[in-house]
């Protein structure tokens, strides 16, 4: 397996639920390719960090204002 082929299947390695012969083949490539191992690990960390940090929080007071504005507009529409 080449590095390009490995990268095309990166999704499979990031999903722990995926098993079977393809995963075994990908792991075999990882054992002898440091570059792909780094790419896999740092991509996994990239996703974890973005999941962990809420970048656009909606403060409670803004949420309430927004909530009321949505409902007022819906009540006011011609439905």
């Amino acid at each position: 397996m080449t590095c390009t082929e490995f990268l095309q299947q990166l999704d499979e390695m990031l999903d722990p639920a995926i098993a079977g012969p393809l995963r075994a083949e990908l792991q075999q490539h990882l054992r002898c390719c440091e570059h792909c191992e780094i790419t896999l690990n740092t991509t996994r960390k990239t996703i974890e960090i973005y999941r962990k940090h809420e970048l656009y929080e909606l403060p409670d007071d803004l949420q309430e204002r927004l909530h009321e504005a949505i409902l007022a507009r819906c009540r006011g529409c011609a439905k």
Binding site: L7, N41, K45, T46, I49, Y50, Y56, I70, C74
Partner: protein, 186 residues
């Protein structure tokens, strides 16, 4: 109306986050959320029960957000296909490993600035796929349905979005980084 209000309460935070990731400012995101829920309410009778309400709502919100971007760019067309033909990010170039605990390198608010600045550099068509799939946790199929894309198109964009983000974050998180990135974070 009471049932719809429950749906608003349930999804307004997620829709706001998605909208802000696309339009990148709070005022426009607020307008997008209002417009999306209003449109959903008006079209509720067109909602087919064969998809989840949330997926349907996200599709409306993404379209509203892209329309808002277009208005801001004085009428220039904006679509989720924009800039996705670039070859950037299809192969990693910077192969440096990261510090074992990149989050220890920066304070919480500085880290949030780095993450915002980095994701804002992606084309909208990559950004929205990454946000829906990896941040909001939609499945590949739900992401495809929300964006009106095929499953292979979502997979291809997701791979490139992830690799581009990883590459751009490497300059902040590489092993041996002791201080801040050279050009600082605004």
């Amino acid at each position: 109306m009471a049932a719809f209000e429950k749906l608003v309460r349930q999804y307004e935070r997620q829709v706001f986050r998605i909208a802000q990731h696309i339009v990148q400012n709070r005022e426009d995101a607020e307008d997008v959320v209002q417009d999306a829920f209003l449109k959903a309410y008006e079209k509720l009778d067109q909602f087919q029960g064969n998809s989840k309400f949330y997926t349907w709502l996200v599709r409306i919100a993404v379209n509203e957000a892209l329309m808002r971007l277009r208005k801001r760019r004085t009428g220039r067309m904006v679509s989720i296909d924009e800039d996705v033909e670039t070859e950037e990010g299809s192969m990693p170039r910077d192969l440096a490993d990261w510090s074992p605990d990149p989050e220890a390198l920066y304070g919480r608010s500085e880290m949030a600035d780095i993450l915002r600045k980095t994701i804002q550099g992606l084309p909208p068509g990559f950004r929205v796929v990454f946000v829906l799939r990896d941040v909001e946790g939609l499945s590949t199929e739900e992401t495809a349905e929300s964006l009106g894309l095929s499953v292979p198109a979502v997979k291809s964009r997701l791979l490139r979005a992830r690799l581009q983000l990883r590459e751009r974050l490497t300059r902040y998180f590489r092993k041996g980084t002791r201080g801040k990135a050279q050009d600082g974070v605004k």
